[in-house]
């Protein structure tokens, strides 16, 4: 049994109502939801594995696949959309040669989209590892990606 997962479950007193919070903490720890961790949560909490799996696949924030070192989130909220967010997304997809939801072969980047980050006044917005980039255009994409190693 993984001690990190045990500690996370303990932190929430194994409260069923905090399942989503636990999964979030596990994901923060491992950058994805490892299979063994889901099994451990199921066994420790006495929740059928199928239910844990159901929750892990329902919410967009969770990933069951290992993710890259840098997580790119492209906002596709309405305000970003009317200002050309899809062009930005397409350019990132071309530059990294992956589609949304995928990770580059070298595990450098994972590309995801989010339906609004609440920075609507500055759309299009891209968030990389928690850092916001506002008023992006397709033309600015490469110079931003080049900052990351």
């Amino acid at each position: 049994m993984d001690k990190k997962v045990t500690a996370i479950i303990d932190k929430y007193d194994a409260d069923r109502g905090q399942l989503i919070s636990m999964l979030q903490d596990i994901q923060a720890e491992f950058h994805y939801l490892p299979r063994e961790a889901l099994i451990q949560v199921s066994e420790t909490m006495g929740i059928p594995l199928s239910k844990v799996y159901s929750v892990a696949t329902f919410f967009k924030a969770f990933s069951l696949k290992p993710r890259g070192r840098h997580l790119i989130n492209v906002c596709l909220g309405t305000a970003c959309h009317v200002r050309g967010a899809s062009k930005v997304l397409e350019q990132i997809e071309r530059s990294l040669d992956i589609s949304r939801g995928e990770t580059t072969n070298d595990f450098k980047f994972t590309l995801e989209t989010v339906n609004c980050m609440g920075c609507c006044a500055l759309g299009p917005v891209v968030n990389i590892d928690g850092e916001y980039f506002g008023q992006i255009s397709a033309g600015k994409v490469d110079s931003i990606l080049n900052k990351y190693s």
Binding site: R35, L38, P48, L49, S50, Y53, S54, F58
Partner: protein, 245 residues
């Protein structure tokens, strides 16, 4: 007791009952796909929608979930309802364009084909009614399968789409499935329970007396443990057990 009216008939009902229950008790037909009387109602297929009238206003509700109340007036087949049911069938038909059960039910409602373009038609059998998931959870108490993913990507599956350790091969899911999306086959001492996206094989237990294969070993072991029966309890099949003097 409460009095309600369905399609003009005055009917007696008990508090807590649903419109659908009262309709069924009185032989009034309301089509359903996700309802089973032994399982909690889910309200997913929306075929059972009916029109209710209260205080001069009408509203469309799912009859499998709507609790009856005194003086409730229900119409099960107003033109409004028929049109909605037809559209729901068209949508299901677009998803399950080759499924015989869906084709037949649609045809009964006067929908011979879906208005959607041929290139978009799908060949699914599962309509995501969730009966299998509820049966596995509420009757068998194993929760081996669940509804995974969200929205258009939703599917019924065991965890990680692999044979589930919790599945005992009882086949309740296949039994309750209205469209044949989950199937079960027994052959040569094995049982396979399967759907488009998953399957699990089970060894069947051989009766010590007649030599027939009669039930999955995992299922019998589960029942034996649950009811605290002796280890040799299931060595003979029920038929042979009855014939023992």
């Amino acid at each position: 007791m409460i009095t309600i009216s369905i399609d003009g008939q005055e009917l007696k009902a008990k508090e807590g009952q649903t419109i659908l229950e009262i309709a069924r008790e009185n032989g009034i037909y309301i089509p359903t796909l996700c309802y089973h009387e032994n399982l909690s109602p889910y309200g997913a297929c929306r075929l059972c929608c009916v029109e209710i009238f209260k205080g001069g206003r009408s509203r469309i509700v799912a009859s499998c979930l709507y609790p009856v109340e005194e003086g409730l007036e229900v119409k099960t087949n107003s033109p409004h309802i028929i049109n909605n049911r037809k559209m729901i069938m068209e949508l299901l038909l677009a998803r399950c364009s080759q499924n015989e059960v869906i084709k037949k039910l649609a045809s009964e409602m006067g929908v011979e084909q879906s208005a959607f373009k041929a290139k978009y038609l799908e060949n699914e059998d599962c309509i995501l009614c969730g009966l299998c998931v509820r049966a596995c959870e509420q009757i068998v108490e194993r929760s081996a399968i669940s509804l995974v993913n969200r929205g258009v990507n939703r599917e019924v599956a065991p965890p990680f789409l692999e044979p589930s350790a919790d599945c005992i091969g009882c086949g309740s899911c296949a039994y309750v499935c209205p469209t044949g999306a989950i199937k079960m086959e027994d052959k040569d001492g094995t049982r396979v329970v399967y759907a488009r996206n998953w399957e699990k094989e089970f060894k069947l237990k051989k009766c010590k007396k007649c030599g027939n294969y009669w039930a999955p070993e995992e299922q019998l072991e589960y029942i034996r443990e649950k009811l605290n029966l002796p280890p040799d309890f299931f060595d003979v099949c029920p038929n042979c057990r009855e014939s023992v003097p």
